[in-house]
């Protein structure tokens, strides 16, 4: 997030797009509710009538995957009605002129048939956002899990840049991170493009810094993504991946195109999985190593507002389970790799801080009370609750000229229904944890497919019937639940239940820049399963 969580109580206008926050980040959503109670207006763009949509002042039930069209048309209205912030554009951005010219082509009347919402609603949303300063944008995977995920994010940046809603209290662009330490995994350099602290691998100076620190020549070009690695698994030739170390990820249930993923892992010569349970992924491993869990592990994690906080062990782990860092270091030492003589989580974290400019001012003792938000470049630095207050890290905020394109697959006569997937309040991801916690079943004991009652009627489906749902990649059977939460022509389910492996169906395409899968859009065909 560019802004701290506490800023969520201060916008005049909230623009929440592709974020089911009351189910996926309920505690953050309470702050939005307080802002609304105080008088802030909320615009929600989401195909489904989620609780967020219900408490919004304006709901845009856009067709899945049409976000760029909506955002272009909003930019058009903001420019046309002179709601831009010329001082901000002049002082702090680049490419504004070209962008403002570009959006002239995209009036709401152009976007309306693509988004399947009235042009008047798009007009209204644009004017509210344009006039609402401070206006804050919130998004989650409904923006990123598309073949145009990067375009979506940059379109949101364009809106914030043209209205000067960056670096201000109650404004900003705020992605809500979905996992407790997914921000931290990036911070720590567990990405193919960056060393710890977002130091680009492709910069030879950084490659030299880490080659020196680690005592080995490290490639000065970025690595391949997980998606590519899985595609190359077992392949002959120089691109082939033949061994993997996977820590705490149930890849075969959470990733798109389940069959492809299983095949990839099966084709490896050597698979080592570190986890706390025998997940579907661990079952495919050659070696499974038991890790410590929440309440058993000392460590650090970073939240969605870049706040660096301590985890503390409260109980002993079961049996011989060990912290992940101990296990990984153990394998490294058995490979005679130097530099893994860590004695504690403190040692590891302090080494990270010494190599990461955004953590340079931190160490294990300083984060005791969790008051720092990175970047914290020096030990005198108070931390950075709000990014971009005075200037952008790379000088000027760049407008990006973006065009709309269709999802990787669109509905046709064979697959005439849009499927979109997501989460539910009571289940977390593949339920390895919530599924093993008592009481949760009382509220959610099975997965179902949300179908609009009018569609169900037309397709001959009753509430509670099992249906067969197919995409170009496979077929699953799932129980139908009739609800007007999903619009006509679009169905919804989560991927949380292994009994309903919806990711057999997904995987139609990937964003060309980030390799993020288009999990939010998948054309399907649905038919009732006859009882006879």
């Amino acid at each position: 997030m560019s802004n701290p969580l506490s800023d969520m109580e201060h916008p005049n206008v909230i623009f929440a797009i592709g974020t089911n926050m009351t189910e996926c980040h309920p505690v953050a959503a309470t702050r939005l509710k307080k802002a609304i109670a105080r008088g802030a207006k909320m615009i929600v763009a989401d195909p489904r009538t989620t609780r967020m949509a219900k408490i919004a002042d304006l709901h845009l039930p856009i067709r899945v995957g049409s976000d760029v069209a909506l955002l272009l048309a909003m930019a058009h209205v903001i420019a046309r009605d002179d709601l831009i912030d010329p001082d901000f554009i002049n002082a702090r951005t680049a490419g504004g002129e070209e962008f403002l010219k570009h959006v002239q082509q995209f009036p709401p009347e152009w976007a309306a048939p693509i988004c399947e919402v009235d042009a008047s609603l798009i007009e209204k949303a644009a004017r509210w956002y344009g006039e609402g300063s401070p206006a804050a944008i919130f998004y989650t995977l409904g923006i990123t899990e598309h073949i145009c995920g990067v375009d979506n994010v940059q379109s949101l940046c364009n809106l914030a840049l043209m209205t000067g809603n960056l670096g201000n209290i109650g404004g900003g662009i705020n992605p809500m991170r979905g996992q407790n330490n997914i921000q931290g995994a990036g911070d720590c350099g567990a990405v193919p493009s960056n060393f710890p602290g977002f130091q680009a691998c492709a910069d030879p100076e950084n490659a030299k810094k880490f080659s020196d620190a680690y005592g080995i020549a490290i490639d000065s070009e970025k690595g391949i993504t997980k998606v590519t690695a899985l595609n190359n698994a077992g392949k002959d030739g120089p691109d082939g991946i033949h061994a993997m170390l996977i820590d705490g990820e149930n890849t075969v249930v959470s990733d798109p195109d389940k069959k492809h993923c299983e095949q990839a892992l099966r084709s490896l010569d050597h698979l080592v999985v570190i986890d706390i349970f025998m997940t579907e992924t661990a079952q495919m491993a050659d070696i499974v190593l038991p890790a410590t869990a929440f309440a058993e592990t000392d460590g650090v994690q970073t939240n969605t507002e870049r706040r660096v906080q301590r985890l503390r062990a409260a109980v002993k782990p079961p049996g011989e389970a060990k912290p992940d860092w101990w296990i990984i270091s153990g394998i490294a030492k058995h490979m005679e790799t130097p530099g893994f003589e860590f004695q504690s989580a403190r040692d590891v974290f302090n080494e990270l801080c010494s190599l990461s400019p955004i953590y340079n001012g931190l160490n294990w003792d300083r984060i005791e009370n969790g008051e720092y938000q990175w970047p914290v470049p020096t030990s005198e630095h108070p931390g950075t609750p709000r990014l971009h207050e005075e200037e952008f890290k790379n000088g000027r905020g760049l407008f990006k000229v973006i065009g709309y394109r269709d999802p990787a697959e669109v509905i046709d006569s064979d697959f005439p229904v849009w499927l979109t997937t997501g989460r539910r309040l009571q289940a977390y991801h593949t339920r390895t944890q919530t599924g093993r916690s008592s009481g949760i079943d009382y509220l959610l004991d099975e997965e179902s497919l949300e179908i609009h009652p009018d569609d169900a009627n037309a397709w001959g489906i009753d509430d509670g019937d099992f249906v067969r749902m197919s995409s170009r990649r496979g077929t699953i059977e799932i129980k139908a639940r009739l609800t007007d939460r999903s619009p006509r022509g679009t169905v919804f389910t989560s991927f949380s239940f292994a009994s309903v492996p919806v990711n057999i169906l997904t995987g139609s395409g990937y964003d060309p820049v980030t390799d993020t899968a288009e999990l939010k859009v998948c054309p399907v065909a649905i038919e009732p399963i006859s009882n006879t």
Binding site: V27, I287, Q309, Q426, L519
Partner: protein, 366 residues
């Protein structure tokens, strides 16, 4: 004089005298807030500093010169020159009588601390003011709702004192309005719309009502299961393991067992709030399915348990063999978005220091 440390948070309106001490205050401050700031420790029952002051319990009364009757300090705004006394004999007697009346319905109240964060507030005050003397005896109000079979929130309204903290936290903090007040006086009952079970209301089982209840009328059903376990309750400050909001929690343990979770009221991300997952989905930690030994796959496809030394060697040998056969770009690492920094950092170092490649990623692409 006690000067305001933070001059920025509002116009300074003047000063008041609290128990002979001169204290500065700024616009909008109540007597209670000023008194708290100068450590006067005024007792309260219906007060939760995250909520709008309510003035229902009257336990926080103080004397203000020039005003005949005691005033509720939580709802009375300070004005310049006020002379306030927080602990006179009259005030203390008033408070005791109030508490004796509150205790008329539940003088045997004995609430385990596992019931909820604030669950012992009433019991503590009754003991402090020696108010369990049975001076008043009368009708019972409120009745326990044992029919609601939800596994998280016990609704024992026999202990309810109608402070409405649960109703207010649900409305003001959560914005859910799942519970409300029905009837008045002795007939007062906290209930859901149409008296339904919580499951059939707007309730999301975030647990906020449980944590703010000062009497244990609302009790954490999961935590209270451990009340007869041996040992003291120990609290360890940590962070919730679910989404990216990073809510600070206190892990409640007895010995080597996690028995419950309470939100950290001073957690910077959550300020006392949690959701159903953070509040109640903690017992996966002790689930019998947990992996406890390294496992190595045998030629017949089954796993056998191994010692760490053997398993680490086998893991390392496998990577060495693949590297030898296919080169250093044939090995890939996937870090977890669920494990702490130390896991992610060592994972990326494992690849970079071990193979000289950037063949490392995490689960954020799906």
């Amino acid at each position: 004089m006690i000067a305001l440390k933070d001059k920025s948070s509002g116009t300074i309106l003047g000063s008041v005298t609290i128990d002979d001490q001169l204290v500065e205050f700024h616009e909008g401050e109540t007597i209670y807030q000023i008194a708290e700031r100068s450590r006067r420790n005024i007792p309260t029952l219906c007060y939760d500093d995250r909520l709008e002051a309510f003035g229902a319990c009257r336990v926080c009364v103080v004397e203000v010169e020039g005003i005949r009757n005691p005033v509720a300090s939580c709802t009375t705004l300070a004005s310049d020159g006020m002379v306030i006394r927080t602990k006179t004999d009259t005030i203390e007697k008033y408070r005791k009588t109030l508490l004796e009346m509150v205790a008329s319905e539940n003088r045997d109240l004995d609430i385990n601390e596992l019931a909820g964060y604030a669950s012992q507030e009433l019991g503590t005050l009754l003991d402090l003011y020696q108010a369990r003397n049975g001076r008043f005896k009368g009708k019972q109000s409120g009745h326990s709702n044992q029919d609601d079979k939800n596994p998280f929130i016990l609704r024992d309204y026999d202990n309810c004192i109608s402070c409405y903290r649960c109703v207010r936290v649900c409305a003001e903090q959560e914005g859910d309005h799942a519970i409300n007040v029905m009837n008045r006086g002795f007939e007062t009952q906290i209930t859901t719309e149409f008296g339904n079970d919580l499951r059939d209301s707007q309730c999301t089982f975030c647990g906020q009502c449980v944590q703010t209840c000062p009497t244990g009328a609302l009790t954490d059903k999961k935590a209270i299961r451990a009340k007869d376990l041996d040992g003291e309750v120990h609290k360890t400050r940590s962070v919730c393991p679910y989404c990216g909001v990073g809510c600070a929690v206190d892990i409640l343990t007895k010995g080597e067992r996690v028995v419950g979770i309470q939100p950290a009221m001073d957690g910077p991300a959550n300020e006392g709030a949690l959701c159903i997952k953070g509040q109640y989905a903690f017992d996966f930690v002790h689930h019998p399915d947990r992996l406890t030994k390294p496992l190595i796959r045998q030629p017949d496809g089954s796993f056998r348990e191994a010692e760490w030394e053997e398993a680490l060697q086998a893991a390392a040998d496998g990577f060495k063999k693949v590297r030898q056969k296919h080169g250093r770009h044939s090995v890939y690492g996937i870090a977890s978005g669920r494990a702490p920094h130390e896991a992610a950092y060592t994972m990326q170092k494992f690849m970079r220091a071990g193979f000289g490649t950037n063949y490392i990623d995490n689960c954020s692409r799906s």
